[in-house]
Symmetry: C2
Subunit: 294 residues, 2 copies
């Protein structure tokens, strides 16, 4: 699938791990770019990315890397995005469109406005909804984005052609562009991603604090393992995401605790009709989820 | 695998759905029983179980069904167990061992003591840790219990031979007997099963109550779907289980809410070190779980 991408001369990728590396592989497969330059903090990751054929060349000089670039993808943990805006600002030429892959958008956009200043229109914020358990260039997969959503949270300053470029490049990688504003994005992902991660982390810790935790784990069946799979995710990444979206997440936690409180009260009152009503509503919602997200 | 089972003449199964039906199929496969009689409230389920070859005969008269039985398995929702103890008590002969498959044990044992009275030693409480998404005789599978745990919560009144019979019959079905007392059982399963179900139900309801719930569900990725899979379980079954184990579950919810509170405080204080510590501990516990339960 090579939808509507005009061939790009030069794409720069900041961070050549799972997200940036998979983006590069997909663009290369569809011959959508002549030249892919990798930039990053880890020289060894960059060298491995060259060896693996993910990028054409690694570049340690940002002025050189950005010279003549059509597109720059920032694919680093969200907490590092601000320092990258600082680093690129002096070398960012007028024709270069910048996009990112961060899991939160409000904080990234605020940093971009502060630092990119009059160049803000060149930044098209985005979030591909894809991931995997592993990280680093070795984890990169050519089809990571195939059929997955990419949420673009356009800014009023973005030109039509900048938005079109980012959307079509992601389509070239197999992804399906969706459009939300950044508040919607951060609200929705707080509910369907950040909160569930926090809930899974909290459950693991509750059990780990039992004196006989290993006995408990021994009786954990497949439901428990599925429920807590997301607690295996990177603590550093989730520290950054929950910090970046902490106001929205706090409100989510308050609402969630109110739901738990309803169940606690029904249990205390031995109100079996109320428990049945609560569980039935949840099961019906789960059915709706299966229909709408599969 | 036909470990150490002496051939039984007559096994009676009360409830010929997924749990009772799979037990019957496994016993038949290993030729461990001459005659399997099905009993239950639904004549149509019993008729289908005969057609499917799960049971040899359906019996609507309990006196006849229990006459000469070696073993009776009660495989019905936990809330119905008490009424079944009442029904069988007058016809329960001295040689018959009764066991169950209930997900909670304290309430079942209390009912058994109250109703079976001087016959309590004949009741060996058990809980096979196996299940599936579907129910009814059609869902029965010959290998449902293969390699799965069955927890036996022996009573002081149980004879060695009664315990041996129940353990060896489950081994004949491919299951691995484990021994806990009923308080341990209900505590452990509150933590690793009942609480996670409640948490998943609560999360589905939280999102379902949003005005734009379907938009939220649209962005739910695989992590969310795994996390909430258990919210698809039967509301009636979970009403019964949470009611039966409500004191322990309430205490679990209180402990869990304390864990969420720690995370709330860290978010409010923007304490990223604390968030990292909490998530790291949880991730390490998740690794331990993978090692101990796989």
């Amino acid at each position: 699938m090579n939808i509507n991408i005009k061939k790009l001369n030069k794409v720069v990728i900041f961070g050549v791990g799972l997200i940036g590396g998979s983006f590069a592989l997909a663009l290369k497969k569809h011959a959508a770019v002549k030249h892919i330059v990798g930039v990053g903090r880890s020289q060894s990751s960059l060298a491995r990315a060259v060896t693996l054929g993910i990028i054409d060349v690694a570049c340690s000089n940002l002025a050189d890397a950005l010279d003549g670039a059509d597109l720059l993808l920032i694919a680093v943990p969200v907490a590092q995005t601000e320092s990258i805006f600082h680093a690129i600002y002096p070398y960012l030429q007028k024709q270069t469109i910048v996009t990112d892959a961060g899991s939160t958008k409000g904080d990234v956009i605020a940093a971009a406005r502060r630092i990119l200043a009059e160049k803000i229109g060149q930044f098209v914020p985005a979030h591909p909804i894809a991931g995997a358990e592993h990280s680093g260039p070795e984890a990169a997969m050519v089809d990571l984005y195939q059929g997955k959503k990419v949420v673009i949270t356009a800014l009023p300053e973005n030109t039509h052609s900048a938005l079109h470029l980012v959307a079509s490049v992601w389509q070239g990688c197999g992804a399906i562009p969706h459009y939300l504003n950044s508040e919607q994005h951060d609200q929705i992902f707080a509910a369907v991603s950040h909160l569930p991660h926090v809930l899974a982390f909290a459950l693991m810790n509750k059990i780990a604090e039992q004196p006989e935790a290993d006995l408990y784990f021994q009786y954990a069946a497949s439901g428990f393992r599925d429920f807590t799979r997301i607690a295996g995710a990177s603590p550093e990444m989730w520290r950054d995401i929950t910090m970046a979206n902490r106001d929205v997440l706090q409100a989510e936690l308050v609402q969630y605790q109110a739901q738990l409180q309803q169940i606690s009260v029904a249990l205390r009152q031995a109100n079996s009709d109320q428990l049945l009503a609560i569980f039935s509503k949840a099961q019906a919602a789960r059915q709706r989820l299966i229909c709408s997200s599969s």
